[in-house]
């Protein structure tokens, strides 16, 4: 659905989404990396477990909330992608931390 053919970065960063290997151009945000990874959704909504994707890309809609390196509820559109990042998509189930 999205491509980065107009992106000028030479290097790509490797990261993982729900344990699956992926890569995206250096300089993109976590939300952009997920959109480029060809996912059908970036989270399931907590109420109806409906598929969602980022809507605003500027920190307003909170649709890009993900778990990054173990910290839940981060706004993916605000966080630059880093090599080796572990990203988990919210599944809509409320989990209580141990």
């Amino acid at each position: 659905m999205f491509d980065a053919r107009l992106n000028k970065a030479k290097d790509r960063l490797a990261f993982r989404i729900d344990g699956r290997e992926a890569a995206a151009p250096e300089g993109v945000t976590v939300a952009e990396a997920m959109m480029l990874a060809g996912l059908e959704h970036t989270r399931l909504s907590p109420v109806g477990r409906k598929p969602r994707m980022p809507y605003c890309m500027m920190g307003v809609c909170f649709e890009c909330l993900v778990t990054i390196n173990g910290v839940a509820g981060r706004q993916g559109c605000m966080v630059p992608l880093e090599e080796g990042m572990e990203i988990q998509r919210p599944t809509g189930k409320v989990k209580v931390a141990p």
């Binding site: 999205f2 491509d3 980065a4 107009l6 909504s45 994707m53 605003c56």
Partner: protein, 464 residues
């Protein structure tokens, strides 16, 4: 940002915040500018110093204007913290304490005066199906392009109204992205009613010329534009597949992999509302804006607002109102400085009036039509509350948006009402036959951005 006390803190590094910081720092104030992005420029000049786009020229000459504004700021003595997410502003005896997260952890600074330059956000466009993957705002699509050279593929439909919709379309054309259609909600009636504002708008005719050039460029490129489109409905199982709409009295349906929605921009009022700044309902822009006095002073002592956050006037005006607010703070803190700035202040005010002349025309022409949605549309995306439910509760006598929260949790999810506040107020006003000003808005509280308890606790420790 090693100093924890300054004369002036500015939140937001778009054109208004940058101009305010430059002039205040050049006048000798200790200035701290906090911004959520990785580099200065705001949304309009996003990634101006560091665009990941191969061919930034396709963004047009207006985007390049941002480079000078950023350069002037970089040359000033103002301190700048990028990737700073401000989550609390607290009033103190001496001014304000401002807490923010940044990649290195948490920090708190103190300031005697505060300029809020948090700009605009897009007016939410709650048509049925707007929560589906494959649907995003025009601003989001433009951010993807400006920042990272990311574009959608497949059947792409742009729908709604406003200059940004056409700007994005013309940038896509230059980028070689094929647009299936532009569905414009602007009606013949809008065009006729807008004409009364045309003579005034001609005083800022540069905007009109640019707009006409953009539209004829799209025509030359063969992009189909349908006007007077209504009743938008996005259909799809796990993502957008089809767009249903009415046009000239007939129902139509088109394949759509990506739907890009836009109905203009509105002030981002989250922080001023949480700080108790008095708001007014703008009948022309159909949104809340803070009540502002001279130099952008709010109803709250020591708090100023510059740029689109004070009412939508665009990037050129934002630079002017930013400088005006900066000068306002300079003379507020040191009355002896006032005399030297008199002529500059008069010039800024007259240029602001001239630049704003186009606004009544644009506001009438591009009046939003999609933001009072059909019953089945989700209004609150976080809690998945439909327009039908808001209408039903409003009809049962709900006393305002804050009681609406307790009835159905609209506005109580992670976005803190950013995406539903305007729609809830307008729906309630519509159902109860009241003025939106009487209906009011959600009461907002700090923290205005999510912060973990561990992050908050960091502030309790020793600060540098």
């Amino acid at each position: 940002m090693s100093g924890t006390t300054c004369d002036l803190a500015i939140i937001g590094a778009g054109p208004a915040g940058l101009a305010a910081a430059s002039v205040a720092a050049d006048s000798g104030l200790a200035v701290c500018l906090l911004d959520e992005q990785r580099s200065p420029g705001g949304q309009i000049y996003r990634a101006i110093e560091s665009s990941g786009l191969k061919t930034p020229a396709i963004l047009g000459p207006d985007y390049a204007d941002g480079a000078d504004i950023v350069r002037r700021f970089r040359a000033s003595k103002a301190l700048y913290q990028d990737q700073a997410t401000v989550w609390m502003v607290d009033r103190t005896e001496a001014g304000f304490d401002i807490a923010f997260s940044f990649p290195g952890g948490q920090k708190q600074i103190s300031a005697k005066r505060l300029i809020i330059a948090t700009g605009a956000m897009e007016r939410p466009v709650p048509v049925p199906g707007w929560t589906l993957p494959g649907v995003m705002s025009a601003g989001a699509a433009q951010i993807l392009l400006k920042q990272s050279g990311i574009t959608p593929s497949g059947e792409i439909i742009l729908a709604g109204s406003g200059p940004l919709l056409f700007l994005l379309a013309s940038q896509y054309v230059k980028a070689g992205v094929k647009i299936t259609a532009i569905l414009e909600t602007t009606t013949l009636r809008d065009r006729i009613y807008a004409l009364q504002h045309l003579p005034k708008a001609l005083r800022a005719s540069g905007y009109l010329r640019k707009g006409l050039a953009m539209i004829s460029e799209l025509r030359r490129a063969g992009v189909p534009v349908l006007s007077g489109v209504a009743d938008l409905n996005i259909l799809g199982k796990v993502s957008a597949e089809q767009l249903r709409f009415s046009h000239r009295g007939a129902h139509r349906q088109m394949v759509a992999d990506t739907v890009i929605l836009h109905e203009g921009v509105v002030p981002n009022t989250q922080l001023p509302m949480a700080l108790g700044c008095r708001m007014v309902w703008d009948r022309s822009q159909l949104c809340w804006r803070p009540e502002l006095g001279d130099y952008g002073a709010t109803s709250e002592p020591g708090i100023y607002i510059a740029g689109d956050g004070g009412g939508i006037d665009g990037a050129k005006s934002a630079v002017l109102s930013g400088e005006l607010a900066g000068l306002g703070v300079v003379q507020d803190l040191d009355g002896t400085k006032a005399a030297g700035n008199v002529s500059r202040i008069a010039e800024l005010k007259s240029r602001l009036a001239a630049d704003g002349a186009v606004r009544p025309f644009l506001e009438r022409l591009y009046r939003p039509h999609l933001s009072l949605p059909a019953d089945e549309a989700i209004v609150c995306r976080c809690e998945e509350i439909t327009a039908g439910e808001i209408r039903r509760i409003a009809a049962s006598g709900c006393s305002g948006p804050n009681q609406m929260k307790s009835f159905c949790r609209a506005g109580m999810g992670p976005c803190q009402g950013r995406m539903c506040s305007l729609t809830v107020t307008r729906l309630m006003a519509d159902v109860q036959q009241a003025d939106p000003a009487e209906i009011g808005h959600y009461r907002l509280r700090m923290p205005i951005k999510p912060v973990t308890v561990a992050e908050m606790a960091q502030l309790a420790g020793p600060m540098e």
